[in-house]
């Protein structure tokens, strides 16, 4: 917990520094004909003359209340912009994380058990291709294939969305579901490769262990050995990686969102960078850090439920 708080503070400081040290915020706000007196007045009223640590604590307090100021470019509160864009990114990330996990595990188990099969070699080769090609190339290839040549899937946007008040979702309309396929698959490919290889390596290692050999010696069926005994053990490290990956997915989504014109946070961030829209940039930074920290925390807790060795620590009886 202490570590998490420290990470958040450091990130907050970096994004806070963006305000103060990347150009003069007043210059960004006012027109050219503003006089020096007026500038000083604004400076004073915005609290920019206060000592650094007071400004910083104000920033932290505001940030923890979700206040990141007003976007320079769009002239709207940043918190509003983020809540507007957040559902798009979350939906994209969740869908691609699921794709990566489900297919990654399935293919990983397959290649781990059938080590010498032709199909395993093909899967591994293709997955290697998935890592070697940059996300945007894959995205563009997908658009070309499915949207331009075959014309079955849309090439950009979220399609029709349904507004639920606090959340806008694309899952309730056919165009929305169609629209999410290409970007989520593109985004998941990289993670899927990782999971395939991790699960494969884990399965191969676990199938060599004594307890698997002992299970065989007891006559337990191969089916049960592979999918009950081995897979359950093999998935433990996958959870850690998957957790970190969700964070990475959000970060990677910048590129995917740009390629597919997906109206999510990454897209918002790229636009903000182009216009040096510092409030949005700093809010994005803090937000990503927050997501990472939270996911790590959740993964730690998940471990507690999954791995009995952690659950009952120090409760060994003597014999």
């Amino acid at each position: 917990m202490f570590q998490s708080a420290l990470v958040m503070l450091v990130v907050a400081f970096v994004s806070f520094s963006l305000f103060n040290f990347v150009g003069d915020p007043i210059n960004n706000m006012v027109g050219e004909e503003t006089s020096d007196e007026e500038r000083a007045e604004i400076r004073e009223s915005l609290g920019l003359m206060d000592p650094i640590h007071i400004q910083f604590s104000r920033f932290v307090i505001n940030a923890s209340n979700g206040e990141f100021g007003i976007s320079y470019q769009l002239r709207r509160p940043v918190s509003e912009l983020i809540t507007e864009r957040l559902p798009a990114t979350i939906e994209l990330v969740v869908v691609s994380a699921l794709i990566a996990l489900v297919f990654g595990t399935l293919l990983g188990v397959y290649t781990g058990i059938k080590r010498k099969g032709l199909l395993s070699d093909v899967i591994l080769a293709v997955s290697l291709l998935g890592v070697s090609l940059p996300t945007f190339v894959i995205g563009i290839l997908f658009i070309y294939l499915f949207a331009v040549i075959l014309g079955i899937l849309p090439s950009f946007g979220r399609g029709e969305v349904v507004d639920l008040g606090f959340w806008t979702t694309g899952f309730l309309t056919i165009t929305g579901i169609k629209a999410i396929i290409l970007p989520s698959v593109t985004l998941s490919l990289f993670q899927m490769t990782y999971i395939i290889r991790l699960v494969r390596a884990e399965m191969m290692e676990i199938l060599q262990t004594d307890y698997i050999k002992f299970a065989r010696a007891r006559g337990i069926s191969e089916q049960s050995i592979k999918y009950k005994h081995a897979l359950k053990n093999g998935l433990i490290p996958v959870i850690t990686i998957a957790g970190i990956n969700i964070g990475t997915l959000i970060a990677f989504s910048i590129i995917t969102e740009t390629v597919f014109q997906w109206p999510g946070m990454g897209f918002l961030f790229i636009q903000a960078v182009q216009f040096v829209d510092i409030p949005i940039m700093s809010a994005y930074l803090v937000f990503i850090a927050f997501v990472f920290v939270m996911i790590n925390f959740i993964v730690d807790i998940l471990y507690y439920f999954i791995d009995p060795r952690i659950r009952v620590k120090g409760d060994t009886s003597s014999g």
Partner: protein, 560 residues
Amino acid sequence: MSFLKIHNLSVDYKMRKETVYAAKEVNIEVNKGEILGLVGESGSGKSTVGNAIIDLIDEPGKITNGSIMLGGIDLQTHTNNTVNYRGKKIGLIFQDPQTSLNPILTIGEQLIETIQTHLDLSKEQAKNKSISLLKEVGIKDAEKRFDNYPHQFSGGMRQRVVISLALCCEPELLIADEPTTALDVSIQSQILDLIKKLTRERNLAVILITHDMGVIAETSDRVAVMKNGNLIEIGATKKVLTDPKEIYTKSLVSSVPPTNKKISRFVIVEKENELNTKHNIKILNRWTKTEITDQNLVQVKNLSKSFEDNFFLENSKNSVMAVDNISFNIKEGEIFGLVGESGSGKSTIAKMIVNLFKPSSGEIFFDDICVTKIKKNKELMKFRRQIQMIFQDPYSSLNGRLKVKEIISEPIKLHNPKISKPDLDNYIFDLLESVELSQTSSDRYPHEFSGGQRQRISIARALATQPRLLICDEPTSALDVSIQAQILNLLKDLQEELNLTILFISHDLPVVRQMCNRIGVLKEGKLCEVSNTEELFLKPKDSYTKELLHLMPKIESIYK
């Protein structure tokens, strides 16, 4: 006719370059109600035979010849037979109870699954059967422990669970592959008693695979000796151990440290190294011998060490006293033994003496200087060169990326940076020859050597700084008996010639008896007793020492 009949069994491992015979025309028969001991050193093929019976030979091994008959049925001709027989007719127990249970399933789940695979029982019936089994193998509160995970059991208890798993579908043949090697003496004797009892009660045929002659002497009815995949000798245990026909069996029996008397040297019939020249300790010329006086070289006073489990918050309840208020002295020129079971704090003491661990309280004096108070790095270096250590595992204690000469030259250069190249080379050669390795070994890498040779390299490295105190932490536990005998002889020779002081840590009482002048017995971090070796073995004072001596497997028990 015998229950299990192995006829002309051969197992090959086809490697890229050559074919290795793991077993060659082995003939073994086992009757019901009988324990057959299968002994041999590592690589002798004893486990291969066990695995072949249950058809679990690792790739690329293959049974190339021979037949295995179980109760009149040929297991080879019906390929599915072996698979169906696993667990049902044949039970198997592995060496390490820590790794043979699935860590994320409760023992109940593992038992029920195994029972339901073979027997047509409902879940409730399977559960009842498991619980009565757990009781039979001596697990208390079986109903409660049924839902526990493997890590909640201690090593001995876990091995009991493993035995209950192997026996849950009432097999008629039990193969126990080194079932007690990973366990402490006291637990070892319990497990062996359990196996003996079950053999009697259930009329099992048992194959007990082990390298420990003491275990064989105390448990098995007949014994089979293997070497390099060949069956050397088979017969009644008493006959084979007391009057071996083959030279190899003789040498094997003679290299086992006797438990009932002290001998000056181990008799070695076959030598690992082909050097037949008289052992010549060349480094003697360079060695500045310390005169043996009646002084204490090491004094340990009220030493304690606790390990805190401060994962969440420091909680004194979780702290473990690894070493609890221990005092002893080691005289210059003697071999002092520390014995105890795992977790008794032997290695922790060694690590505190070499200053790898900081004691929680207490003092250690080396040559009247208080080691625990040394602050300056320079003084610490001066002290460190006088103490060297030899570790248990010869595989992980040598850096595999360095040549032998680099490994040995490192401590020399560290303590004597100005040494010239030719002088250094000569010194390395002398060291290697002193541990009976050839000069050419210096250009090779550790993986090219066998376990025993690696341990010799470790000794050469330890001697490189000309230490006064050598700490040997289980130096031969990972080695075969014949190699162990050679290494122990070497250590003894070196100690006598170089006037070394040795702190010898081991769990193996017979070995300690052969090596040490005085012995300290440790139990759970406390020192039970310190006395002269013979006195300790003949007239033990402490009840724990008596128990240990009573429980250790004795090869001599066969003479009774």
